[in-house]
Amino acid sequence: MSAYIEFRNVAKAFSGKAVLRGMNLAIDKGEVMFIIGTSGVGKSVTIKHLIGLLRIDAGEIWFDGARVDQLPERSLAPLRKRIGMVFQSSTLFDSMTLAENVALPLRKHGKLSHKDALVEARKRLAQVYMDDYADRFPAELSDGMRKRAAIARTLALAPDVVLFDEPTTGLDPVSARRVDRLIRELADTLGVTAVVVSHDPPSIFGIADRVAFLYQGIVHVVATPDALRASADPIVQQFITGQSSGPMETPGF
Amino acid sequence: MSYFRTRIEAIGGAVLGTSRAALELWLVYVGTIAGIVRGFSRRHGGRGRPKGELVRQLHAIGNRSLVFIIVTLGFIGMVMTYQACLQLGRVTGDYSQVGSQFLRLLISDFGPTLSGMMLATRVGAGIAAEIGSMKVTEQIDALRMSGVLPIDYLIVPRFIACVVMTLMLTVLGSMVMYAAGGLTAQYSFGVNPSTFYDLSFVRGRHLVLFVVKALAYGAAIPVVAGFCGLRARGSSEGVGWATTAAVIGSSFAVIVLDFIISAVALFLADGDL
């Protein structure tokens, strides 16, 4: 039985420097998969490949039984409606209110009129507890609020999969846990498959079903959080306990 | 009534804002001159100004604008001559004066002004972008904290380089325009080169205008652009706005200075240009 999302021997290099070297990962439907590793190891790069924001050099990427890495830009629209992404910088559009931001995909793809789209948008914002701020502009809000609004926008098209690029990085602990809870709710109540790039231990051990540890361009190990914590692998231990010295090679230090 | 009130408030606000900006701009200018004087009175460059900076600025402004000026002014020269000949052909059919009048206009106005406008775009944007990104990445604050005046370090070298280079580039650009004009007249309208390249109408006053304008533009551009750069706020957005403002501000300054200098010259020469 093949997995819902699968990376097979994926390789990618930037300016001659290899980042992913034959990476393999299988993600099941409905699970919350965390991708962790040190900075610069290729975590964000991995998920960007899934929706074609970057192109792989070699290997295959499969989604729901179909190969997707070779699709031309024009044909990526259906894929992107099924797989949404929440970026690290939230990427809300500065010139629109939150409601207008969330309404945008609804207008474009849901064929709703502007007024109807705004009504729908407020409902989505309510789902992430942000409906009170629907008429504010992104610049007026804190990072945590912007992140939740961005999630609402991504959910507007009811995707099957949502990719999160470091959702809790830079947030205060309270906001971070709120975002974690949201992600868990998505998976549990809506059946959304979540792929989360993170290096935030409370998130990793709080909500992940499984964790993929990326190291030196491949997936070093895939395991449940508990199994990871109990692992005898010295490299894994160094990362989890956050030691600066150990068997791990960190480029640039 | 409240409609008028809001309007008047808006106008008042705009006037105040503009006046404040004008005052700050003037202060930058004065500060620059003061910086130059300071530089001369302390023989080797003064505290904080690296010796190579002036040369680097000369290179940045001069060399890198060279091709740009040659290309743009060459094309304008061709177009202007073409238009003039076309119109003369319609009215009098006599091309004997084209070259001399073109030269007169070139020296007293178009040469410096068009070079000035082009440089306002290229150099103005460059200066504002550089200084703007430095401001936004807090390098200017770092300078202040190590006891260096930003005006001394950043604007003065650019000011001197720009004044010098504008004059040189204007001379070069004008020559290119003149040559291009002659070629156009020759190949499109059959005007004899010796008829076109006629210097007899050029007088001392035209050359004075040329130099005065070139120097004025060369002084205005770095001051306006540097001012806009120093005022940049925020992040990348702020740099964008600063560069935009610099381009408009310097271009507009060139036009206004052109008008003022030309009007004054006309007045002084009693209508005889």
Binding site: Q88 | I76, Q83, Q101, M117, E130, S235
Partner: protein, 258 residues
């Protein structure tokens, strides 16, 4: 050796110019393809028309006023000396309609609107908002670039028309205030000597300039790289590219249209 390094610089410069020109052509192709069939985001179009028009009217009007006055300063004394005051408006007016109006207004527009647009687009690119659009299966070219290109072209033509008129007014004002040529003489010399074709000649240039400014501005905006410094460089490149294109296009149109 000076020679080698200079040649290497020139060569490198030429290559990057070629790359940019190629990139702009590709973007232009994408914009054109998005126009057939024309499915443009109406709200974005209106928003941009509003923004670009509003912002530039004052500066363009002022520039045109000064430019018209300048033309009068240059040609007026000459005409007066010849006693041909009937032609006073002609020389200034002709230059304004055909050349000075379109070029100067285009340059100002490039500075005010083009640079601003590049700043906006490059900030959006640097903050991943363009990727955000792609991730929502919205094509940034269709959604952002096309409305801006159309808005810029329309606005520049409108502004040139207004600017031409204002410049003629400026010329008249200078004529009567500084050169003792009264307004009615000016008006008659305009009416008698300036032909509709002169006006159209200038407007057709505005269309071309508008396209050049729009494409250059959008291209450098969406291809920016590298944070605050990159944004500054993108704006710089956009204005310079626009200025060069304006001069080149002016040349070609003048020769082709006569």
């Amino acid at each position: 050796m000076i020679g080698e390094k200079t040649i290497a610089n020139i060569g490198g410069g030429a290559v990057s110019i070629a790359q940019h020109v190629g990139g702009i052509v590709v973007l232009t192709g994408q914009v054109l393809r998005a126009l057939i069939p024309p499915r443009i985001d109406g709200r974005e179009l209106v928003k941009n028309l509003h923004k670009m028009g509003n912002r530039s009217v004052p500066i363009v009007a002022l520039t045109a006023l000064f430019a018209g006055g300048l033309m009068m300063l240059q040609s007026g004394p000459f005409v007066k000396k010849l006693g041909a005051t009937g032609l006073a408006g002609w020389a200034a007016g002709y230059a304004v309609l055909r050349e000075i109006g379109p070029i100067l207004i285009a340059l100002m527009f490039s500075g005010r609107v083009g640079a601003n647009n590049t700043a906006e687009l490059s900030t959006m690119t640097v903050t991943e908002q363009l990727d955000g659009l792609r991730a929502l299966a919205i094509d940034p070219v269709k959604f952002l670039v096309v409305p801006r290109v159309i808005a810029m072209m329309v606005m520049l033509v409108a502004l040139t028309v207004i600017g031409d008129l204002v410049a003629l007014v400026g010329a008249t004002v200078v004529g009567s205030a500084l050169l003792e040529i009264d307004a009615s003489t000016m008006y008659h010399s305009f009416a008698d000597n300036l032909k509709p074709y002169d006006f159209l000649h200038g407007i057709s240039k505005s269309v071309a300039f508008g396209a050049a400014i729009a494409m250059s501005s959008c291209y450098f905006g969406v291809t920016v790289r590298g944070g605050a410094v990159g944004v500054g460089r993108a704006v710089n490149a956009a204005v310079v590219a626009a200025a060069v294109s304006i001069m080149l296009l002016d040349f070609f149109i003048t020769y082709l249209a006569g």
